[in-house]
Symmetry: C2
Subunit: 401 residues, 2 copies
């Protein structure tokens, strides 16, 4: 078996924890397994280093930021190598560059272009446990780059793909992906297996175990991903191809996103291109629009409803002020929340939507907006009913059994 394991910032948060990770690596490794371990910076370290840079400049040179930030993972990787050596293992740390991770020159948000695995393969063949500093690579000029948020996960997935690893395990401080947020529904269950697409829908909805970039890359490279906890023995959640999941439940999980504000543009002039102009301006301002519903109004006018992140509401108000003369009224509502029901089983089962509507109707929960995909139904509802909606749906779809 060739395993790639990735340990996040809290897993390597202090020297004790690094020691525990070393133990964990050795425990999980069978004699002939080859193991590559990707590590993050010790938790807090990246923020501390970034704070130094921001002390001088609120918008510091991204190239210099990368030089600074990349040091955190280098330190952790070497400390873990030393910890493993004291336990009698052969271990060696590699920087992103040493590991052959080549990226474009987009500092602080670089993309991996290719990985030269020559050195890692040689070290694995020599019996080394190879520790790779996550989150970083090197561009064609030889300058260090970083991969942005969730970058160490990306390093791990990309390495697993390039090395044709059997498995890529992402260790965090949670046990895996749950049917819904256990803080809302204590009967939420850990999911054993889930498809990439379901995971993508759940993750973008707020199940913050893995960022979508990593899941998308795993899907593209066909890497079997496991997300599990450093602090427990639970085998975690396997994220894999749909065809690898035997017994497909209709619904895999329910996600909640409280960061959705609704914008209602009432009486928009129904002339060609007006919607495209509105969404164009929002995109220019880097505001991501999620759900969109257009309905016919009266007098040849239309109503346009859509959601944006609450954190971008003030910015959106400024942008949309330009359209004040083309509409009768713009309403903003930040008392909304998006509930998403996700499951590949939906494709082959009719009646999911009606079951969802029936459940919410019974609880007198009004649905403000709906959007659907092949494997997902998203509903915008009043935020005060969000928990109730989730618990009801969780029960109706038997996710707690």
């Amino acid at each position: 078996m060739l395993l790639v394991q990735k340990y996040g910032g809290t897993s390597v948060g202090d020297l004790e924890r690094i020691q525990n990770v070393a133990k964990r690596v050795l425990e999980s490794k069978k004699p002939h397994d080859k193991v590559v371990v990707v590590v993050s910076a010790m938790s807090g370290e990246t923020d501390k280093l970034l704070g130094y840079a921001l002390h001088f400049d609120p918008l510091p040179d991204p190239r210099e930021v990368d030089m600074i930030l990349s040091s955190g993972e280098r330190v952790t990787s070497a400390l873990l190598a030393i910890a493993l050596q004291t336990m009698g293992a052969r271990a060696i740390s590699l920087s992103g560059r040493n590991a052959g991770i080549y990226t474009d020159a987009n500092h602080t948000k670089a993309h991996i272009e290719h990985i030269d695995t020559t050195r890692i393969h040689a070290l694995l063949d020599d019996g080394f446990i190879v520790i790779v500093a996550g989150f970083q690579g090197v561009d064609s000029k030889g300058d260090v780059t970083t991969l942005g948020r969730g970058g160490s996960d990306l390093s791990a997935v990309a390495l697993a793909g390039a090395l044709r690893a059997d498995l890529c395990e992402i260790y965090t401080d949670v046990e895996g992906v749950f049917t819904t947020d256990p803080r809302i529904e204590p009967r939420a269950k850990k999911i054993d297996r889930i498809s990439y697409d379901e995971m993508l829908e759940l993750a973008s909805m707020g199940a913050k175990v893995l960022l979508n970039r990593s899941v998308e890359l795993a899907k593209k490279l066909g890497v079997d991903l496991i997300t599990r906890s450093t602090f427990s023995k639970d085998p975690g959640t396997l994220i894999t191809k749909e065809e690898n999941i035997m017994e497909q439940p209709i619904i895999s999980g329910i996600a909640l996103d409280k960061n959705q504000a609704r914008v209602s543009m009432v009486g928009v002039e129904d002339k060609p291109g007006i919607a495209s102009e509105i969404f164009g301006k929002l995109a220019e301002a880097n505001i991501s629009v999620d759900m969109i519903v257009q309905t016919n109004g009266y007098d040849g006018k239309t109503d346009l409803d859509f959601t944006i992140p609450k954190t971008e509401l003030e910015l959106a108000k400024n942008v949309l002020a330009n359209f004040q003369n083309s509409v009768e009224k713009i309403d903003y509502d930040s008392n909304s929340a998006k509930v998403s029901i996700v499951g590949v089983g939906m494709k082959s089962h009719t009646g999911v939507a009606s079951k969802v509507f029936g459940t919410l109707a019974k609880e007198h929960i009004n649905i403000m907006m709906i959007s659907t995909s092949e494997i997902k139904i998203s509903l915008l509802i009043d935020i005060k009913y969000a928990e109730l909606a989730i618990r009801s749906l969780h029960h109706v779809f038997e996710l707690d059994s």
Copy 2:
């Protein structure tokens, strides 16, 4: 002018100080000057990082230690680059590798093998101030190495040599090289110019401004070195070729070394090879022997006196226990100190030695051992007279005028 400046750990000890260094760099630079700045890690950082490694292993893998330690200078270099940019300068940080510093693979004490200056020259031509992370390079495998104690000074001197810089300025927290330790003799004066050889003699005696490795390298490469303070405007001390110093005083400075213990081996069998065997065993144990005096005793036996660092006294006792049967008696004395009078002017002036002896005799200071070189007279005396001896000699040789 092409300048190389090096700022040590206390000079970049915190964010405020890094800001001050940025100002200092810009102030010292004339419009068409090209400047390369070498920086150390923020003071305390290297010890902190080393402490992490030692937490796991009292003798951590040197390769891993280098991966850890090298991160400190990387951070400082990028922070200084950002600070300079906020002041409107073009600045860029380079790791040791980026700067083309290639070393052997002797981790934690690597030697620079060659420097590829292509990138630095290109950046300087483009008007960049180039900030280089000191103390580090890269070996032929592509692994980061560090240069050992005083490594950032070495980086600066080596870069100055490779770039054919006009000057290499080493900024520390002292104003330069003094005629003697000002804490002993308040009338000690800063020396304006001193030759490489004098500096080597003074430095090895305890004038801890620059380590000998750096001075030796500067001498070899013909680099004009200035040591000066980050915290004052004083022009510092120029360390240069002997022929660049016009008015040569007879004596340049007086150094004190309190870390000398005397070993007296009385009645050593006078058979061939015994001295070589003794010093061979000491060398094997990594004990450095400094002054050596051999005198004829009686009965065809000899007395052998030498000095070793006090910190290695216990180790030396163990080694010398093997010779107990070949000698009558071994005495150890750690109440001694070495005073060294240094000056290239000695070569052309007779009477320096007799003036030294006369001065000490007048103060009733007994000389236990003497060793001399072309430009130095060293005396081992009772440690309690060390300060008195230095003040008297400082006055007699008119170093205070």
